[in-house]
C-alpha cells in the first residue's frame, strides 16, 4: 500500500434483508484525486460512502481510509472527513449561522467565529445568516451543506450527489472549488448522475446493482467499452429508432437532442448493418465518439440485475 492511497478498500460487502446491496467492492483513491462515483439509482453508492466514513459497518471486507482502519478506527476517520449527505441533514429549525456554528463546535474548529464568518462570506449568505435553514430553497440547502462539511478543513471529502438540484452557475462554481481543493491535496469522492460532472473527475468508478463494473479515467472507460457510435439526423427519428432497435448488431439507440446515437460493440458488423439505413433519403450519418452516457447506459443494460434474480 502506498502512502498516497487515501481510500484503499477491498471486498466491501453490505447486505440489507438478505440482499447484497454492495458486493465485493474494492477501490483505491490517491491523494488529491477527484474520484467520480456513478451508477443507477439504488446501485449502492450511498451505502458504500456510508461504509467508508463509518456510518455503516460492512458485513465483509476490509480497508483503510486516510490510513485508518474503516472498521476499528472510524472515530479517527470522522475527524478528518467531510461527509455531505444525499438528503439535507442539517437542522431546519436552526438558522444558517447556527448550523455552521454547531458543526464547527462538534469538530472543535479553531477560531470558530472566524471560520464560520469566512464560510458565510464565501457562500454569499452572510446577509441571510439569520434565516432558518429550512426556509432555503433546495439548491441553497445543498450549498449550505457543502460549506458545512468544509468547515473543519477535512483531508477527504465524501460528497453524495452534492449538486442535485443546483443551478448551472452554482455547479460551475462548485466544481471550480473542488478542483482548487484537490490541487491543495484534498481528496474528493463524489457521487453524481451528471455526465458533465463525471467528465470533470480525474477517475471514475461505475457501480450497478452493488457490483463495481469499471474504474478508470473517462477516456479509459470509453475505450474499454469497445463501443462504436454513429450519430444520425434526419426526418422521423422516432420511427427510425424503432426500426434500428430491431437490428441485432445494434446494441443501443439513444436519442440525443435532434440526433440519435446508434452504437454497437463490433464495428465492421455494425457498419454492415447500417448500410441499409444510410440509403434513406434525408438522413445524415456521422461517426461519433461514444459519450460516457452511451457507455454507462450500455453497462447498465448488460449488468445482471441480481436484485431481481
Amino acid at each position: 500500500m502506498s502512502d498516497a492511497a487515501v481510500i484503499d478498500v477491498e471486498g466491501l460487502t453490505k447486505t440489507f434483508g438478505g440482499r447484497r446491496v454492495v458486493d465485493d467492492f474494492s477501490i483505491r483513491v490517491e491523494r488529491g484525486q477527484i474520484f467520480g462515483f456513478l451508477g443507477p439509482n439504488g446501485s449502492g453508492k450511498t451505502t458504500t460512502i456510508r461504509m467508508l466514513c463509518g456510518l455503516l459497518t460492512p458485513d465483509g471486507g476490509r480497508g483503510t481510509c486516510l490510513g485508518h482502519d474503516i472498521i476499528r478506527e472510524s472515530a479517527l476517520i470522522k475527524r478528518q472527513v467531510g461527509y455531505m449527505t444525499q438528503r439535507f441533514s442539517l437542522y431546519e429549525d436552526l438558522s444558517i449561522r447556527e448550523n455552521l456554528d454547531f458543526i464547527a463546535r462538534v469538530y472543535e474548529v479553531p477560531e470558530r467565529q472566524h471560520a464560520v464568518g469566512a464560510a458565510l462570506e464565501r457562500l454569499g449568505l452572510a446577509k441571510r445568516s439569520a434565516q432558518l435553514a429550512g426556509q432555503l430553497s433546495g439548491g441553497w440547502k445543498q450549498r449550505l451543506a457543502l460549506a458545512a462539511c468544509l468547515l473543519h478543513n477535512p483531508r477527504l471529502l465524501l460528497l453524495d450527489e452534492p449538486t442535485a438540484g443546483v443551478d448551472p452557475n452554482a455547479r460551475r462554481e462548485f466544481w471550480n472549488r473542488i478542483h482548487m481543493l484537490a490541487a491543495e491535496g484534498i481528496t474528493v469522492l463524489v457521487s453524481t448522475h451528471y455526465m458533465d460532472e463525471a467528465e470533470r473527475c480525474h477517475r471514475l468508478a461505475y457501480i450497478a446493482y452493488g457490483k463495481l463494473l469499471i474504474t478508470g479515467t473517462a477516456a479509459e472507460v470509453i475505450a474499454h467499452s469497445n463501443l462504436t457510435t454513429w450519430s444520425v439526423s434526419g426526418p422521423d427519428l422516432f420511427g427510425l429508432a424503432a426500426e434500428l432497435r430491431n437490428v441485432p448488431a445494434i446494441t443501443m439507440v439513444v436519442p440525443f437532442g435532434s440526433t440519435l446515437h446508434v452504437s454497437g460493440t463490433d464495428a465492421p458488423v455494425l457498419d454492415a448493418a447500417l448500410d441499409h439505413f444510410r440509403a434513406r433519403p434525408g438522413t445524415l450519418w456521422i461517426p461519433a465518439e461514444p459519450s460516457l452516457e452511451d457507455v454507462f447506459i450500455r453497462m447498465m443494460d448488460e449488468a445482471p440485475d441480481n436484485f431481481n434474480a
Binding site: 456510508r50 466514513c53 463509518g54 456510518l55 455503516l56 459497518t57 472510524s74 472515530a75 470522522k78 475527524r79 472527513v81 461527509y83 449527505t85 438528503r87 439535507f88 441533514s89 442539517l90 437542522y91 431546519e92 458543526i103 462538534v106 469538530y107 472543535e108
Partner: protein, 378 residues
C-alpha cells in the same frame, strides 16, 4: 358540487390509513395493549379502601386488656401489627419514615387505671399525609372501642362494661391533622408533572434526529454518544427545575401547603429524580422508530406511574404484585420523599431508603440508554 362525495376517493383514503396502521406494529400493539393495561390497573390494582395497614404497637403495659385491644384492632381488618416498639422516639421515627401507617400506644398503668374506672387513654397516631389511606381505618376504630373489652371485664369488673367505654380512644392525625387532600396531592404533582414532561421531551429528542434525517450528519461528526446524551438531557433538567419552582410557589400561595423540610435537600433529590426520568425517556428514544412511537412509549410508562405510585390511590391499598411493580417506579419513591420533606420535615436519614432506589433506576436506565445508542445507521 361542493358537497360532492366520491366513494372511490373516500375508499382510497380509508385503505391508505389501514395500510399505514398495519405498518406501524408498535402503535397497533399499543392500541390493544393500553386498554388491557388500564383494565388490569383499574380493575385489580386499585383499591381506595386499603386494609391491613402496617401498624406498630408501643405497649408500656403488657396486660391482658392491652393484648385484647390490639387483637380487636387487628380483627377489624384495617390494621396489621408489624412491629413492637419500645420508645416514643422509635414511634416518631417509624411514622416519619413511613415504615408504618399507625402507632398504637398503650400507656403505663393502663390496666390499673382501667380497673379503677379511671378511663385511661388509648392513643392511636396516624400518618395522615394521605387522608384517603387512613380515613376508613380510623372510622373502623370507633366501632371497636365499644365492645372490645367486654369479655375481659367479668365478675366484679362487669360494671365497667357499660357505656361510655372503660377507656378513652384518642386519635392523632399526624402531619396533616385536618386531612386536607391538597397537602398530599400538590407535592405529589411535582413528581407527576416531572415524569410526564421529562420522559416525553427526551423520548422525542433522539427520535426526532432520526425522523428528520439529521442523525446521519450527527453520526458522521466526531461527537460521542455520551456527549449527545448529556447534551440533550441537561437542558431539560433546567426546564424541570422551572416547573418545580412554579408548582412550589403555587403550593405555598394558593394551597398553603406546609413546607417543613429543607428545600435544598429537595432540590438535590430533584436532580436524581429528573435524571432518572430523562434516562428512561432517552432509552425510549433509542427504541422508538418515530416520534409517534416515542409518545406512545411515554404514555405506557406514565400510566402505571400515575396509578401505581400512590399518587392517585393509596399505595398500601394495592395487592402485593402491584406494590412490587410500584416499587420499581421512580415516582413511587419520589412521592414518599417529597411528601416526607414537605409535610413531615424529613431529613437525609429518613429519606435515604427511598433515595437509593431512584439512584439504582437511574444507573440501569442510563446504562441501557448508552448501550442502545447506536453509533452507526445499521
Amino acid at each position: 358540487m361542493r358537497f360532492n362525495f366520491s366513494p372511490a376517493r373516500f375508499w382510497a383514503v380509508l385503505t391508505k390509513e389501514f395500510v399505514q396502521m398495519r405498518r406501524d406494529r408498535l402503535t397497533f400493539a399499543m392500541m390493544v395493549g393500553v386498554p388491557i393495561m388500564q383494565l388490569i390497573l383499574f380493575g385489580f390494582a386499585i383499591n381506595s379502601d386499603p386494609k391491613a395497614l402496617p401498624t406498630a404497637v408501643l405497649a408500656a403495659d403488657n396486660s391482658i386488656y392491652a393484648r385484647t385491644l390490639v387483637r380487636a384492632i387487628e380483627n377489624s381488618g384495617y390494621f396489621r401489627v408489624v412491629r413492637e416498639l419500645t420508645s416514643e422516639a422509635e414511634a416518631d421515627r417509624a411514622l416519619a419514615m413511613g415504615a408504618v401507617q399507625f402507632v398504637v400506644t398503650i400507656p403505663e398503668n393502663f390496666s390499673r387505671k382501667l380497673e379503677r374506672g379511671e378511663r385511661p387513654v388509648l392513643l392511636v397516631e396516624a400518618d395522615a399525609t394521605d387522608p384517603a389511606a387512613t380515613s376508613n381505618a380510623l372510622a373502623a376504630l370507633l366501632t371497636i372501642n365499644q365492645s372490645a373489652l367486654n369479655r375481659d371485664l367479668e365478675g366484679v369488673l362487669q360494671g365497667l362494661q357499660y357505656r361510655p367505654p372503660a377507656f378513652e380512644l384518642r386519635v392523632q392525625r399526624r402531619y396533616n391533622p385536618e386531612g386536607i387532600t391538597q397537602y398530599n396531592i400538590v407535592p405529589g404533582l411535582i413528581g407527576v408533572v416531572l415524569t410526564m414532561t421529562m420522559v416525553m421531551m427526551t423520548s422525542l429528542a433522539v427520535t426526532r434526529e432520526y425522523e428528520r434525517g439529521t442523525m446521519e450528519n450527527l453520526l458522521a461528526t466526531p461527537v460521542r454518544p455520551i456527549e449527545v446524551m448529556v447534551g440533550k438531557i441537561v437542558p431539560y433538567i433546567i426546564v424541570g427545575y422551572v416547573q418545580v419552582t412554579v408548582i412550589l410557589v403555587a403550593a405555598k400561595l394558593l394551597f398553603a401547603v406546609p413546607m417543613l423540610g429543607n428545600l435544598a435537600l429537595l432540590s438535590v433529590v430533584l436532580i436524581l429524580f429528573i435524571a432518572a426520568n430523562l434516562a428512561i425517556g432517552y432509552t425510549f428514544s433509542t427504541l422508538a422508530k418515530s416520534q409517534m412511537q416515542a409518545m406512545q412509549m411515554t404514555f405506557f410508562f406514565f400510566l402505571p406511574s400515575m396509578l401505581l405510585s400512590g399518587f392517585m390511590f393509596p399505595f398500601r391499598g394495592m395487592p402485593q404484585w402491584a406494590q412490587w411493580l410500584g416499587e420499581v417506579l421512580p415516582l413511587t419513591h419520589f412521592l414518599r420523599i417529597v411528601r416526607g420533606i414537605l409535610l413531615k420535615g424529613n431529613g437525609v436519614a429518613e429519606i435515604f431508603s427511598n433515595l437509593w432506589p431512584i439512584g439504582l433506576f437511574l444507573l440501569i436506565a442510563g446504562t441501557l440508554a448508552l448501550t442502545r445508542y447506536r453509533e452507526t445507521l445499521d
